[in-house]
């Protein structure tokens, strides 16, 4: 690869430049295919190829970064010079120099597991799969919008550093979902499968798309959307709440994943995404949740979109606890932030593409299943009066990740251990630690599943990251249901 030689040369020049204490370079090329079918037509279909490189320079403890898609040796040299000039500008306001941890430079390769390259599957077959599901969704005329969507990614990355790191990675990702919107009068209801906002994603090939069961579930999704049009409104008050796995994945994402990002804790996102209530003084002693709550950051799960071999500053993928038996025990860290808590990076720095700087991002942030935990059916049977909610519809949480309000697509009232009626427009709200401390049951391993989210937003310029959450349904006591409206 010619560009590798150019980048190595640029890093060598930087290494010999006075004041440069560290530099790294990432080259990335990615192929993306996005397909959306809506009712009888292809609403969106595009194929994209992008390639380029980003160079990050630490000059006397201040960062600079520049990126370019121009694949010429002089452009690489110019980009390196620009990164250095930017780092020198940063240095003008420096109060405390950045110091990186002592992670040894890595040399290695990583390839995500896939059986069937999604880009080898014909477009005819992909369209037929989505249209087959959409045709079933449209069997009732009250379904005004039936949609099927698929996104496929093939990414190749190279990481080089002045410390001697040299890493190549190749990752294939696939995801798809269907959605039915029913309208009657002023009532609008939506159901999605396997979950909302694009479906489920994995770092696997087209075999993952085939395994989703989009066509098989289309009848049920249509019927649920229609039934919601005349369902009872979700009652307002305090109830025991069971969250299905897909909604719990979002709960983990917003109320555990984001607040444990150490860059947020240290204030570098305060002007955009916000800060965190999980301040440094709480590490090792703060009761985040009940004793059955164990949350882990695990980038080593094969086939999950929060997994990789190495993060985007060359740190090997790891599994570390964030919350153990309800106590805050860790953060998501980087080589710059980990030393602040006396640790070495746990490998969470990732960039969306070549033109983005790596930031601390979630990996697979998982709620561990309870050993010998119940099935969902058993958990419902164990609930006297409660509400079961599934599939996210709306989400909002404050800038410290304390006060949240989530809406779901569908809910059922539970009376004496049985689902007794369908409920529409369910919303629940709470304060993060109070909510997790009220968790009194988590289902077992048989209910545990990983949910891939391809669109976690963070940073300026904004970056969308692929992350995932393993969850099993769980129950929370006395949760405020309804928005008060």
């Amino acid at each position: 690869m010619e560009v590798k030689a150019w980048l190595l040369e640029a890093l060598d020049d930087l290494k010999r430049t006075e004041g440069v204490v560290y530099a790294d370079a990432r080259y990335l090329e990615r192929e993306t295919e996005s397909i959306t079918v809506r009712n009888e037509e292809v609403a969106g279909l595009s194929h994209e190829e992008t390639k380029g490189y980003g160079i990050r320079v630490l000059y006397r403890g201040s960062w600079g970064f520049a990126a370019s898609g121009v694949l010429k040796p002089e452009a690489v040299r110019e980009t390196a010079r620009r990164a250095l000039a930017i780092a020198k500008a940063s240095y003008l306001t420096q109060k405390k120099p950045v110091k990186l941890d002592d992670t040894p430079p890595q040399r290695g390769t990583y390839k995500s597991p896939w059986e069937e390259d999604p880009f080898d599957v014909s477009l005819d077959e992909k369209l037929e799969l989505l249209f087959s599901a959409v045709r079933i969704l449209r069997k009732d005329k009250r379904i005004v919008k039936a949609e099927g969507a698929m996104q496929l990614f093939h990414t190749r990355k190279l990481f080089l550093s002045t410390e001697g790191a040299e890493i190549e990675q190749e990752i294939v990702e696939s995801g798809a979902g269907i959605e039915a919107t029913a309208v009657e009068g002023r009532e609008v209801q939506r159901r999605s499968f396997p979950t909302s906002f694009g479906g489920n994603y994995a770092a696997r090939g087209y075999e993952f798309i085939r395994s989703l069961g989009l066509v098989k579930n289309a009848d049920r999704i249509r019927e649920e959307a229609i039934a919601l049009l005349s369902a009872a409104p979700c009652p307002v008050g305090e109830f025991d709440l069971i969250l299905a796995g897909d909604q719990l994945a979002l709960q983990v994402h917003e109320s555990c994943g984001h607040p444990t990002e150490l860059d947020r804790v240290l204030g570098t996102e305060i002007s955009y995404a916000g800060g965190s209530f999980l301040t440094l003084d709480k590490l090792g002693k703060y009761r985040y949740g009940s004793e059955i709550v164990n949350l882990v950051a695990d980038a080593t799960i094969p086939g999950s979109i929060g997994s990789f071999g190495y993060d985007d500053e060359g740190v090997p993928a790891q599994k570390t606890y964030l919350v153990r038996e309800g106590i805050l025990v860790g953060y998501l860290t980087s080589r710059e932030t980990a030393p602040v808590i006396g640790r070495r990076s746990n490998g969470c720095m990732r960039a969306e593409s070549w033109h983005h700087i790596p930031l601390i991002r979630m990996v697979n942030i998982n709620l561990e299943p309870a050993p010998d935990g119940p099935t969902l059916e058993e958990l419902i049977a164990d609930t006297k009066h409660g509400i079961l909610m599934q599939t996210n519809k709306s989400w909002s949480i404050d800038d410290l990740r304390l006060n949240f309000q989530f809406g779901c697509e569908i809910a059922w009232e539970i009376m004496d251990g049985k689902k007794v009626r369908l409920l529409k427009n369910p919303v629940y709200t709470g304060i993060t630690p109070e909510f997790w401390r009220s968790c009194d049951a988590i289902c077992g391993k048989s209910e545990w599943k990983i949910w891939g989210l391809p669109n976690c937003g963070k940073g300026e310029p904004s970056q969308a990251m692929h992350v995932a959450h393993g969850t099993a349904p769980a129950r929370f006591r006395k949760v405020r249901i309804g928005s008060g409206k």
Partner: protein, 446 residues
């Protein structure tokens, strides 16, 4: 900057080799962003990138492929891929064909000074602001970005369009031991931004944000500063005023054009020609941009359309098409709310008991799009107003409210409006407003 002549030369050369009807869109350029916290730059980045969209037509079938390389062979490969995609699609009866040459009404979007405002100059500006805040013992966070980009469009029907754009955007978050405040500014000309008064505004507001108390949820008179309305407008652009939400029946305007949904003092429109709206004279399929009134004195008046959406609706395209291959339909990118005859100061002075909100955070508008029901938090300063004065800083509050109800209960709108850029692409020009009976549903605590 590559420049009009050079880009159009590349596009036309590619079109000359095209196998059939083809349209090529070029979008991209250079953007730089400096981020800071605790009065120190912690992230400083620059990127140069563009996307070339190749849209080909096979009968009524369309295929789109994208590349970030301008080389002849890269565009040719994208065209081949797009043709392969088009040939595998069903016929699309709503495809209106490619547009021929058009006349455009110019907009002012480019400034050379902004394009040259590099990292050193941004650091100099910030150093002064950091020093000013330090006089009060405060620290500053935020971001300061400049961008320079170009849009060029050409097709085999002879259409040609080009527009250069610059933008300078700064957000200043001033923090004390217990308080926080924010001020934002955007302009295509960096010299239009008054950094000193922006800093002074954030510092003064931060001084007020101390000794916060919690106010119980309930209905209150609220005074929303312009930044709050910018968030609401962004959500309405997707859930209400865009062609897709309208055609699918999810918008409160669906089947309700001509009906009253808001108070008589509310007029909302999309215009590329409003000062600092950063509107392009054309959309991304070459249709000349029109000013579209969406809400006129509280009555549902219109939505925006691309060409395919207009054909479906039996309406005229308004010049709001998004990028080729995107499923989102037409979106208003330059939303404006008509000004009133009040001012923020007059609203505070006339308020017997209410809540002043500086910013909204994490708004979500998917709760019930037919009622424009939204939820969100307050951020960067929430204050109790009593008998015409700010009397008390408050903990952040959660609100949950139908914007149709809120915009039916507006008792004052400011003459002054502010421009906000969201993600560098969505612009809103909005006033401050006072609303009666606004519903707060929770408090930030922990």
């Amino acid at each position: 900057m590559i420049g009009r002549e050079e880009i159009l030369k590349v596009l036309k050369r590619a079109l000359g080799r095209a196998e059939g009807p083809t349209e090529i869109l070029f979008m991209g350029g250079r953007s730089e962003l400096t981020r800071y916290t605790k009065s120190q730059i912690h992230q400083n980045v620059a990127q140069e990138d563009f996307t070339v969209y190749v849209k080909v037509v096979e009968g009524t079938r369309v295929g789109v492929a994208r590349t970030n390389q301008l080389a002849e062979e890269a565009i040719a490969a994208a065209e081949r891929k797009a043709r392969e995609i088009a040939r595998r699609q069903p016929e699309n009866p709503h495809f209106p064909g490619l547009l021929g040459p058009q006349e455009y009404t110019p907009t002012e979007t480019y400034c050379e000074t902004t394009a040259r405002f590099g990292p050193d100059r941004r650091a100099e500006v910030l150093k002064k602001i950091f020093a000013k805040a330090a006089e009060k013992g405060f620290e500053v966070a935020g971001s300061f970005s400049v961008s320079e980009w170009e849009v060029a469009l050409a097709n085999t029907e002879g259409l040609e369009a080009y527009q250069p754009v610059t933008g300078a955007e700064i957000g200043l978050v001033v923090m004390s031991e217990e308080g926080i405040a924010r001020a934002d500014a955007f302009s295509h000309d960096v010299e239009h931004i008054d950094f000193d008064s922006l800093a002074a505004k954030a510092i003064a507001r931060c001084e007020l944000d101390r000794g916060k108390i919690e106010l119980p949820p309930g209905e209150y008179t609220v005074i929303l500063e312009p930044a709050c309305l910018a968030e609401v407008m962004m959500w309405l652009s997707f859930t209400a005023f865009g062609s897709e939400s309208y055609l699918s029946g999810q918008s409160f305007l669906s089947g309700a054009l001509g009906e009253r949904s808001m108070g008589e003092n509310i007029t909302i429109y999309d215009s590329a020609w409003e000062p600092e709206a950063q509107g392009l004279p054309f959309d991304l399929e070459g249709t000349p941009k029109r000013k579209v009134v969406l809400i006129e004195r509280g009555v549902n008046k219109g939505v925006v359309f691309d060409r395919a959406g207009a054909k479906k609706a039996g309406a005229e395209p308004t010049g709001h098409a998004g990028p080729p291959g995107s499923p989102w339909g037409a979106i208003p990118w330059n939303l404006c709310m008509a000004p009133g005859d009040s001012s923020l100061e007059e609203m505070i002075a006339s308020c017997k008991r209410g809540i002043l909100v500086s910013n909204f955070h994490y708004v979500n508008g998917y709760l019930d799009t037919k009622r424009a029901l939204m939820t969100g938090m307050t951020r960067y300063g929430t204050f109790l107003v009593e008998n015409g004065e700010i009397t008390q800083a408050l903990a952040n509050l959660r609100w949950t409210e139908s914007m149709l109800k809120a915009f039916s209960n507006v008792v004052a709108i400011s003459r002054e409006r502010e421009v906000f850029a969201r993600g560098g692409a969505f612009f809103s020009i909005v006033p401050a407003m006072m609303i009666e009976g606004f519903t707060f549903t929770g408090v930030q605590r922990g």
